[in-house]
Amino acid sequence: MTIVSGTMNRAADGQGPDNSFKNRIKLTEQQLRARRARSIAIALALGAFVVVIFLVTLVRLGSNIAPRPM
């Protein structure tokens, strides 16, 4: 049985876990740049989502709290 995967290959040979990293994927400069850009976009989108939830909560709660006597 041949398993082309670093950790599983070593485990199959009875040599313990693979610490050599030689079978791991090394991202190219372009792939790293693209991943970084996607990560930033996801962070910004999640940040915007949090802000929207916060503002809507203020508007919804505010309109109920404002008329209440102190």
Binding site: I3, V4, Q30, Q31, A34, L55
Partner: protein, 308 residues
């Protein structure tokens, strides 16, 4: 026994590819018509709620676009107009597009329901489902009436906007729905006339491919003849003022004139291209005028109250 575990190549898709996947040009038209539906509603909507509704509708439209590109990747690869899209170009895998689209669809519908109201959310869910399942998966590859029935999805955004503002529906947003519904066939068939070879190669049964140019030109004229009076309906039913009525009449007359030229054209597609371009302007100006009419009426009311 040999088991090969293959790894997918890490993605090189940038943010721009994902934005392209959301069909930004279609999205802009959806957002614009939704804004009009939201702003002409006869209720005051808090700006934060209005903005939230528009963000949800925008993201929902993007989700529908991404799911459309996921399913239509094979067709897109055959057509010059769409071969540069992210999936045929190999920038995004179909699975990534499907996951992206489903996530955005779920987020947009649930957010619209929880943050604005459930009528608008239900309409948005229906719109996305109609566009993806009824139009993209079913009708597009099976009938020449694909864009006629599929036009329902494109016509719903003003109703979603209105529902976001009021939590209900009325005759006025239904009129806007009908205008976009009857605008869709002449708009897309004008495009299909000069892209019919592309559609034929991709085996998409658009009307010019199935019934020929002559029949397409005849049906474009018929739809334009229905659209022109329908465009003026908000005025003669009392929902808009005479300025809107005058502009709608003029735009409708040009639409019919161009459809007649398309009908008369024997060779080439000059008139078809003109009609395609003008139809975009038609819808934009008609909806913009409705907005101007409503906002100016509100302004005059406000000034009148101040004078008293």
């Amino acid at each position: 026994m040999s088991l090969i575990v293959t790894r997918a190549e890490p993605s090189v898709a940038g943010v721009g590819d994902y934005i392209t996947l959301m069909k930004p040009r279609v999205m802009s038209l959806v957002v614009f018509t939704a804004i009009v539906g939201l702003l002409i509603a006869p209720v005051h909507v808090h700006p934060v709620i209005a903005l939230t509704a528009l963000i949800c509708i925008t993201v929902g439209a993007g989700a529908a676009g991404a799911l459309n590109m996921w399913y239509d990747a094979d067709i897109d690869a055959c057509m010059a107009r769409t071969a540069g899209r992210p999936i045929p170009r190999g920038r995004i895998t179909p699975g990534e597009a499907a996951g992206f689209g489903m996530t955005l669809a779920a987020f947009s519908v649930v957010s619209l329901g929880l943050l604005v109201n459930f009528v608008a959310a239900a309409l948005l869910a229906f719109t996305i489902a109609f566009y993806v399942v009824i139009y993209t998966i079913w009708l597009k590859r099976s009938t020449s009436q694909n864009i006629v029935i599929g036009g329902v999805a494109g016509a719903l955004p003003p109703m979603i906007g209105w529902a976001a503002a009021t939590g209900s529906l009325a005759v006025e947003p239904v009129l806007l729905f009908l205008i976009i519904f009857f605008w869709t066939p002449p708009h897309f068939w004008a495009l299909a006339l000069f892209r019919s070879e592309d559609y034929a190669r991709a085996k998409v049964p658009m009307l010019p491919v199935v019934a020929g140019d002559r029949e397409t030109r005849r049906q474009i004229l018929l739809y334009a003849l229905v659209l022109a009076p329908l465009g003026t309906a908000p005025w003669f039913l009392g929902y808009a003022g005479p300025l809107f009525g005058a502009v709608a009449l003029a735009l409708g007359a040009v639409m019919i004139a161009l459809a007649l030229r398309v009908r008369a054209e024997k060779h080439g597609h000059r008139a078809g291209k003109q009609l395609f371009g003008f139809s975009l302007l038609y819808l934009f100006l008609l909806f913009a005028m409705l907005l101007v009419d409503r906002l100016s009426a509100g302004l005059f009311d406000h000034l009148g109250h101040l004078a008293e």
